[in-house]
């Protein structure tokens, strides 16, 4: 699980171009979206959907399905562990 979280953080930093951020600076439990967290928005949500599909073989049809799943690195990792096909 910890390795998956590390992997996810690296993918987020690279795909979303989070300049000057390191995986250590992303708190596993902190919200990814909104001003109190990383400040991601709906475009980033679409990019995260692609990370799930490309890296873990999970398809999400509607962005609205992702709301709770994308809350934090923790929730993302749990969802991936339960649903991954690769």
């Amino acid at each position: 699980m910890e390795q998956l979280k590390q992997e996810l953080k690296e993918a987020l930093i690279e795909t979303l171009n989070l300049e000057d951020m390191t995986p250590e600076e992303i708190d596993n439990a902190a919200p990814l979206f909104g001003d109190e967290g990383l400040g991601l928005d709906s475009i980033d949500a679409l990019e995260i959907i692609l990370i799930l599909e490309r890296n873990y073989g999970i398809r999400i049809e509607k962005p609205s399905e992702g709301k709770e799943i994308f809350y934090s690195v923790d929730t993302l990792a749990q969802f991936i562990t339960a649903n991954r096909t690769k």
């Binding site: 709906s42 475009i43 679409l46 959907i49 509607k62 962005p63």
Partner: protein, 396 residues
Amino acid sequence: MKVFITGIGAISGIGQGGEEHLASFRSGQHGLGKITLFPTRHDVPVSEVKATNDNLKERLGIPRQQTLSRTALLGITAAQEAWQDAAIATTNGLRVGLISANSTGGMDLSEQFYPLFREDNSRGRLHHVASHDAADSTERIASYLGLTGFRTTISTACSSAANALMLGARMIRQGLLDVVIAGGTDALCKFTLNGFSSLMIVDREPCRPFDASRAGLNLGEGAGYVVLQSEKSLHKSPYAELCGFANSNDAYHQTASSPDGTGAWLAMKNALEIAGISPEEVDYINAHGTGTPNNDASESQAIYRLFGDRIPPFSSTKAFTGHTLGAAGGLEAVFSVLAIQRGIYYPNLNFTTPIEETGLMPVTSYSEQNPIRTVVSNSFGFGGNNTSLVFRQINR
């Protein structure tokens, strides 16, 4: 100084010219079908113009071997129709301008060039990339119509053509031009289809503007142009007046509209102010109404905020034509003018259940001879670019 509309031209998935469009609206015939213009793995309905590039060239008398983008061909078709409709016998002494809009230039041809070019930089026909820029179709229209004066091109995503009409009206008002052909054109292409797919806002079913179950837009293609004239240059009885226009930025997000519809509200409010018309006097709104959850919620809020409990009849025509992007404001200007001339309410197809928050109910059936004096037409786009136009019946 007043600005009058003396010519209209339109081509879309539901027909060419005003009469064909009205026949489709009357019979509820939408333009949606499978994608035939290019091979693609996306299986979604789109509203294609039912004519190949060769058909379009033949109708225009353009030799088949001449390379023109579909964007230019659609634009020439509609602009020429508007220009003929205005029937200006001589342009001697008149300053005639062309203000055209589009969202992706000659991308339909660039898509033939680029896959070859990226394999080998010496490959790909240069003719196929020469019309890549957004100005190419405008220059082609000017050259086809023999126009030598002012021309420019506007690109503000889905509000592009509405901004072209707005600039035309303002240049006439300030006495810089006497006559302006203004509108927009866009051809369906792989780039656009994949782009909107990447945003996950393309519905696999026919779109349902303003319905609670709406799940996205359908793409379309086409072109719509009007001829604008100053009072002094009039030679015939005009169809309507373009009396109000405003452009405002939502400044909320790169693609999404604000939940309270600030940009849309400002555009409508300011356009009515310029026209000197109160919201109570508006008889019909041709809404932007794309069918995406976000746009329709935001536009509904803006309509509600401006009109309160006196919401005029409104509808989106995009379930018929698809979203024609850079052409939408031009096509819908043509529909607005026809609405005033014949008192038409256009049906908003596929509507059954209102959006919970606002409860707005669009017009769902076609009717003519309604008392329509004033029409508001909305065009909102990515980048927060929102524009509203106000059309008014001529006082007789």
